[in-house]
Symmetry: C2
């Protein structure tokens, strides 16, 4: 029996990291939803970078470059982390450098602690679960959170994926965070959007007029692409 | 309107700490439940210390000394953190030095960040809520967790206290952790013991044959004592 665990926030990741585990990083609003969407639309790779400076340098080397801070596109960048900006033929076959407030940072933290890092979102939820069930390895679902705080939307994803893994009979959980997430997801799943209406980050995005992005990111199972980190780049696993 | 927030784990406390807030530290199994019980039985003060060495030194100065690590009484100490060990006339009027795996550490972290630190448990839940409603200050409920991990029982207490504060109409929450905790508590409250049967720390205590302690710590509103930290010592607020 393999274990599934949920890490609610980047400062806690060291408590979970085991080299041989598979980590699924999630930042529902919106970095990992945007990455999944970009691969679905033909992107070749993503380099997650921590600083705006690094993204700019890669842009000068021919990368497409995206930058987001506090929910908004960084001045001078073509992309932020709106999934809609990646539904675009211009990204086909391209390498993209991206820096975001929470998501890319969590990916880089995960990369230091474990061998296998996958990218999760509601959009590729079932595909991820199906893949993980074949791997016979422990799974850590790593919520990017908001500036190191617990957030509701990433925990809901964690709960959804935990449930799918536990019901497969191939996983068990002794992790209170995984169990609490599943419980919250069971309450919320009938209407994720309404459930999230009062949540902190949802409100933050509301102020930025990102209703369309929110609805998009809360769709379940629209694609089976799974991005995986190889040598510091996210590429398509399948 | 004052805010209520919930911090799930000691490494996250800096994100919440504001000097002027009131912090309620909770370690349901069992440090804060034991402290509340000790005051109910006449203890004069507690000094929460981080190391076994400090507790021993204070013991040589005439303090009663308690020490717990990984759920068990430290060798050479009279007390661990079983509430039953404090239901004892010998503690009346005495000063007690205590070091535990999670609870005393959280108290000391809180003391560095804010002016007012109170001690919470299910045993004094309503008394705490009644007091906080009169204070017109923001409240941070600080879960001691288990070795820096989120744990279910402290989060349930956080949810219970959050609910009492929100329903008073004097508090609001924009904190996803507070909202998730309340939701989990609403599901669990009919039978906390059964709900916690599968939780990680509950299992840990089960192995140590601490059934009686668990049942005791999950009782609600058995006392109205509220311990408060003054100059590094916990004393009775009321």
């Amino acid at each position: 029996m393999n274990k599934v665990e949920v890490c609610f926030s980047p400062p806690l990741f060291d408590l979970f990291a085991k080299k041989e585990s598979i980590v699924v990083v999630v930042d529902v609003f919106r970095a990992t939803s945007a990455m999944v969407t970009a691969f679905q639309h033909g992107a070749k790779s993503f380099i997650p970078v921590s600083t705006i400076k690094e993204a700019k340098e890669l842009s000068e080397q021919g990368f497409l470059a995206g930058g987001e801070r506090n929910g908004e596109v960084v001045k001078g960048f073509e992309f932020g982390n709106s999934p809609f900006s990646y539904m675009n033929d211009n990204i086909r076959g391209r390498d993209i450098a991206l820096t975001t407030t929470n998501g890319t940072r969590a990916i880089n933290i995960a990369a230091k602690g474990v061998d296998t890092v996958l990218i999760g979102s509601f959009l590729n939820l079932q595909a991820l679960a199906d893949y993980l069930k074949t791997q016979e390895r422990d799974v850590i679902i790593f919520c990017a959170g908001w500036k190191d705080r617990f957030n509701m939307e990433d925990s809901l994803f964690a709960g959804a994926l935990t449930m799918l893994l536990l019901t497969s009979g191939k996983f068990e959980s002794e992790c209170d965070s995984a169990n609490a997430s599943s419980l919250v997801y069971r309450t919320a799943r009938k209407n994720l959007k309404r459930f999230l209406a009062n949540c902190s980050h949802r409100k933050r995005l509301g102020h930025l007029n990102l209703e369309k992005d929110v609805e998009y990111c809360l769709q379940t199972d629209t694609t089976d692409v799974i991005p995986v980190l190889k040598d510091g780049r996210l590429v398509l696993l399948k």
